[in-house]
Amino acid sequence: MESKPNALKILDVVTAFLIIAATAVVFFYAPMEAIMGNVQRVFYFHVANAWVGMLGFTAAGVMGMLYLRTGNPKWDVIEVAAVEISLVFFFTAIVTGSIWARPIWNTWWTWDPRLTTAAILELVYAAYLMLRSGIDSPERRARFGAVYVILGFLSVPLTFLTIRLLRTIHPVVVGGGAADAQGGFSMSPKMLQTFLFSLFAFSVFFVDVLWHRVRLGQLEQKVEQLRLKLAR
């Protein structure tokens, strides 16, 4: 295993700076929302986390397809890295959403389409990790993981559509909204800047963590190969 590349070291520093800057911008630059007050500030990180989570799950689906087509284990390493990280990011999105929902919707949780889909999404990818942990052969683990991640990738949008056939109260701030959404607002220019900046900061954060996790995955692979060699 080669030592940490310089590009990654620089990215670590940039990420730390961006996250601190984003936090500062959210608290000091963004104006206070007139009706909801300070709790609205959670929105910037909530959406950023959800966005990064979705990005990771999508990337994992694509990696699954690439793995099945090529059989190259490097796609598998990226796939499992993306799923693990996105699980955490997405969970953060759910928790921050809950913090916001308590004062605005007057409940921690409601069985709204987006919330329900988010919960099921977490369960799908938790099942994915359980599936992987139950298989000893690295090659079979990668194959099954790829198949399951593709199934999840296809079923989650269908789940969302299905539940959306029922009614939604989740506000859609970016790009149109449901007429009966509760807690929606329109962004002022400063809010929009803050929002875009935190999206950017979290995207960089995601790339940084993904890079670390992929390196860890490669190390795991190496250890596994050494162990197989010893067992022989």
């Binding site: 099942a127 359980m130 599936l131 194959r143 099954f144 079923s155 299905t162």
Partner: protein, 241 residues
Amino acid sequence: MNDRVPSPDAAPAEPLAHPGLLRTTLAILWKDLSAELRSRELLSAMLVFALLVILIFNFALDLKPAIRKEVTAGVLWATFAFAGTLGLNRSMASEKDRGCLDGLLLAPVDRSAIYFGKALGNLAFMFVIEAIVLPVYSVLYNLNLFNAGLVGIIVLGSVGYVAVGTLLAAMSVQTRTRDMLLPILLFPLVIPVLISAVKASAAFLDGLAWGEIAPWFNMLLVYDVIFVAIAFMVFDYVVEE
């Protein structure tokens, strides 16, 4: 598969006789059905389990006549889903335990035929269970469940459930945790089927207009088409060694 390369030692006059996909599928289906006809261990277990689930719901939900109508669709689908995993697990585990799966994989046939054969077998077992549960439920709860629309929804829902379930059972049977893993893998993926099926069944039982039912019906149809196609495409990767 289509290009006929004559093998060197075969007489040139005889082309290689490949049994078609349909014939192989039916052969595997027939094998499963006749094995089940002789042992009856799978169907009896599924049936008793399904009745037990209904019994538990009876006490858990306190199925009074007033609320029966609203929860019937949910109770039925939960019963089918739970009994279904039992059948899916068993049908793959019996192949694996006796080394039959390896034998099937050695056969010079298209592997999709193995998937379709097993899936049709599982579907047949689901239908048998559903065909017994529906009249029993009707008698026990004094509700008329003989409704052509409801039967149609049950067929569509079962197809989607079994399409994904057979694929995942083939995967889970090859893991260390085996039977335990199947429901964990399966349930989050079949949520669209369960929601749409419950909603459509309830709508049919309430005698709602087609306009209310159509979105759920379409969702079931879309899910069935997508997942049968996907399972067909990826099954090779699940059994490849």
